[in-house]
Structure formats: C-alpha cells, structure tokens
C-alpha cells in the first residue's frame, strides 16, 4: 500500500497493465529485461513505457464482465419473453427496451435495425460500467493486492481507453453510414461544400466539417471519461480522510452519482443516436 496521499491517489488511478517491455529495459526494481517480454507493469512508469503495446486487464476484464452481465440478463429475458403477463424481470427489461426504443424513435428518423440495439447496448453497458463506481474505492484493489496484483482500477469508464473504445466504434459507424447513405460523392460534397457552397471556400469547409466530425467521438468519449474520472478522484480523495468522517462526504457523493451514472450513460446513448441520425440525413 502506498504511503503518502499523492502515492495513494496515483496508485488508485493506475490500471493493471499487461504489456510489452523492450529488451534492455530497466525495471523498477533495477533488474534488466533481457529479451522483449510481455509482463505486468509493476509501476506507473513501467506502464507508461510499455506504450501502445499494452492492455489494461482491469478495464477490459470489468467491461467485458459487465457486458456479459448485460447480455446474459437480457438474453435470459429474451429467451423466455412471453406475450402474456410478463414477470417482474421481463417488465423491468421491457421498461428499459421501451425507453430506448422511445428515444430512438423520437431522435432517429431513418430505418436501420442496428440503431436501437446499439443504443440499448450503450445505455445498459455504460450504465453498468459506471455503476462500478459505487463500490468503495479500496475494496476491489484491496482484493487485487491480496492476490498479488499491484494495481486494480475497476471502473472501465474512468479509463480513456474504455470510453474511446466505444466512441471509436460509433465514429466508424458514422463514417460508414455517411458513405452508405449519401454515397462517396455525397459525403465528400457534404464535407467540402457545406456550410459555404462556393469552390473557393472548399478548404475552409473541409476544415470546419472534418473538425466537426472528429469532435463527435472526442466529445462522446471525453465527456464520459471526464465525468467518471473526476468523480472517481473525488471518491479517492474522500477515502484519504479519517474513516470516521468519510461517510459524511462519501454518502452524499454516492447519492449524487445515482444521478450522474445513469445520466452519463443516457447522454452517451442519445448523442450516439443523434450523430448516427445526422449521418443518415441527406441534405442535398
């Protein structure tokens, strides 16, 4: 366990990183890596030095675990979905499905069987990942420590990889449907001739439109990450206080997250639908 406050915070914000260390790298304990190896990072510096060739095992593991919970629960209900009087669980699932369906119907005006399931997946999955924040910050890392893992950061949405991973997929879909619906020519036209329909302004238009396009995944990912990360930092700061006063700040902050967690999941879903709706709309 880290000793100073700064170390404690840094420790809690470090992911469990499994990555490639190049040959000749000097590890934190002074040993030299002889050949290129894949290993767990022992310190934040090591994790950073692994560069791109690394995985955050905690982010991936927990997000996949949460995804499996989502899929398992919903598939369970879907398999025994009855037309007649639904049970409590089916009611609950149907409520969520109906909610998402309503949003998609209101926002998305095209015809695409992918959009609604996509929105549902985003909403529930992100919600589940966010909701890991309610688990006290020391519990799971403590267990990880007991198992010999130096770092364990359980909330995947406090890892930019987690949020960008989703937003990049959304971005790919935006590009895909823009081209599919408008054609390469139509999409190019939209990028170059709007908002100013004049050949001389093509570079300016292009700059503006590409910027607007790139802003979409960036804003999606950064909004979710920023909110979750900041919330997590506050939880960690609260955890630094003496244990007998923690509840005074911890409880209100956790209650506040009853609002924040679904709201961020909801915003991510709605913006995804809005962006994809825009990708489907042909203005010309």
């Amino acid at each position: 366990m880290a000793t100073t406050s700064a170390e404690y915070i840094q420790h809690h914000l470090q992911n469990l990183t499994f990555g490639k260390l190049p040959a000749g790298y000097e590890r934190a304990d002074g040993s030299i890596v002889e050949a290129t190896t894949w290993t767990l990072a022992r310190t934040g510096t090591e994790a950073a030095d692994m560069g791109f060739m690394a995985f955050h095992l905690d982010t991936l593991g927990w997000s996949i675990f949460m995804g499996l919970i989502f899929i398992g629960l919903f598939r369970f209900v879907a398999r025994r979905a009855t037309v007649d009087t639904p049970g409590g669980l089916q009611n609950f699932v149907e409520m969520i499905v109906d909610f998402v369906q309503g949003i998609v119907k209101d926002t998305f005006h095209g015809r695409n069987p992918l959009i609604a399931p996509l929105a549902l997946t985003i909403f529930v999955w992100v919600f589940l990942m966010n909701s890991l924040k309610w688990i006290p910050v020391d519990y799971i890392p403590g267990i990880g420590m007991a198992l010999g893992l130096d770092y364990f950061k359980i909330v995947p949405t406090t890892d930019p990889n987690g949020t960008f991973g989703i937003s990049i997929a959304v971005f790919a879909l935006i590009i895909f449907y823009s081209i599919k619906i408008k054609g390469v020519g139509g999409f190019t036209k939209e990028l170059t001739l709007t908002p100013f329909n004049h050949w001389a302004l093509i570079p300016f238009n292009l700059f503006l439109e590409v910027l607007g396009l790139l802003t979409k995944p960036l804003s999606l990912a950064l909004r979710l990450f920023g909110n979750m990360y900041a919330g997590e930092v506050v939880f960690i700061l609260i955890a630094l206080l003496p244990f007998y006063v923690q509840w005074a700040l911890n409880v209100p902050w956790a209650i506040f997250h009853i609002l924040v967690i679904p709201l961020q999941a909801f915003i991510f879903m709605v913006l995804t639908v809005v962006y994809l709706s825009a990708a489907h709309e042909d203005h010309h």
Binding site: N15, A81, V97, A116, T121, P156, N161, F164
Partner: protein, 156 residues
C-alpha cells in the same frame, strides 16, 4: 491513463455486444412487446364490441319483457272478460233454469190442484147426490140432475 491496445479490445468487445444484442436480444423482446400490444388492442376492441352487444341484448330483453308484459296484461284482461262472461252466462242459465223449474213446478202444482179439484168436485157431486137422495129418500135420476150437480160442484 495511457492509450494502448485496450482501446481496440474495448472496441471489439463493444462490437460483439452490439451484434449479440441486435441478433439475439432486441428482436425477441420487441417482438413480445409488439405482440402483447396487439393482443391488448384486440382485447380492448373485443371488450368494446362485447359491451355494445350487451347493450343491444339488454335493449332487446327489455323490449321483449315489455311486449310480454303487454301480452300477459291482454291475456289477463281477456281472461277476466271471459270469466265475467261465463259467470254472467252461468247466472243467466241458472236463473232461466230456476224460472223454468219454478214454472214447471207451478204447472204441476196447478195440474195437481186441478186434479184434486176435479176429484173433490166429483166426490162432492157424488156426496151431494147422495145427500140429496137421502134427503129426498128417493132416487134421483143421476143423469137428469147431473147438470145441476155439476154446476153446483163447479161453484165449489
């Protein structure tokens, strides 16, 4: 906070989850919901129809009841009428029968009386003749005096 392969892993996981949801989760649930919606709509429709039918049936029943009441009232009235008629007839019959009986009895009485009178008359005549015979101590020619005697007897 390093960007690394986690990004791709997350993207792949996300794609698989979306695909799974689209393939195996969304269709059955929405299908069930739609079916239920349809069923509820049909049920409500049927309920509305049934209510309308019920109204019609109630109206019909009320009408039938009304008609039946009228009919039964008519029948009762008729029955009452015919009953009075029968009673009246019977009374009339009884009266005439009584009168007839009285008349017959009276006639019989008359007859009997007449017969008795005749007998009495005959006996009186005979008595008178006998009396006269005794008074006269002579034989009276019955045939000669019968007219006189008969006149006397008829006066009795």
């Amino acid at each position: 906070m390093n960007i690394n392969l986690t990004l791709l892993g997350q993207t792949i996981a996300f794609a698989i989850f979306v695909w799974f949801t689209m393939k195996f989760v969304w269709p059955p649930i929405t299908h069930a919901m739609q079916e239920r919606q349809k069923k509820i709509a049909e049920g409500l429709d049927a309920a509305g129809r049934a209510q309308r039918d019920l109204g019609l049936a109630q109206e019909k029943a009320a009408q039938t009841l009304r008609e039946t009441k009228e009919q039964s009232a008519q029948i009762i009235e008729q029955a009452n009428k015919s009953a009075t008629l029968i009673v009246e007839e019977a009374r009339e019959q009884a009266r005439s029968e009584g009168e007839r009986l009285i008349a017959a009895a009276k006639a019989e009485i008359e007859q009997e009386m007449n017969r008795a009178k005749d007998q009495l008359r005959a006996q009186v005549a005979a008595l008178a003749i006998k009396g006269a015979e005794q008074v006269l101590e002579s034989e009276v020619d019955a045939s000669a005096h019968s007219e006189l005697v008969n006149k006397l007897a008829s006066q009795l």
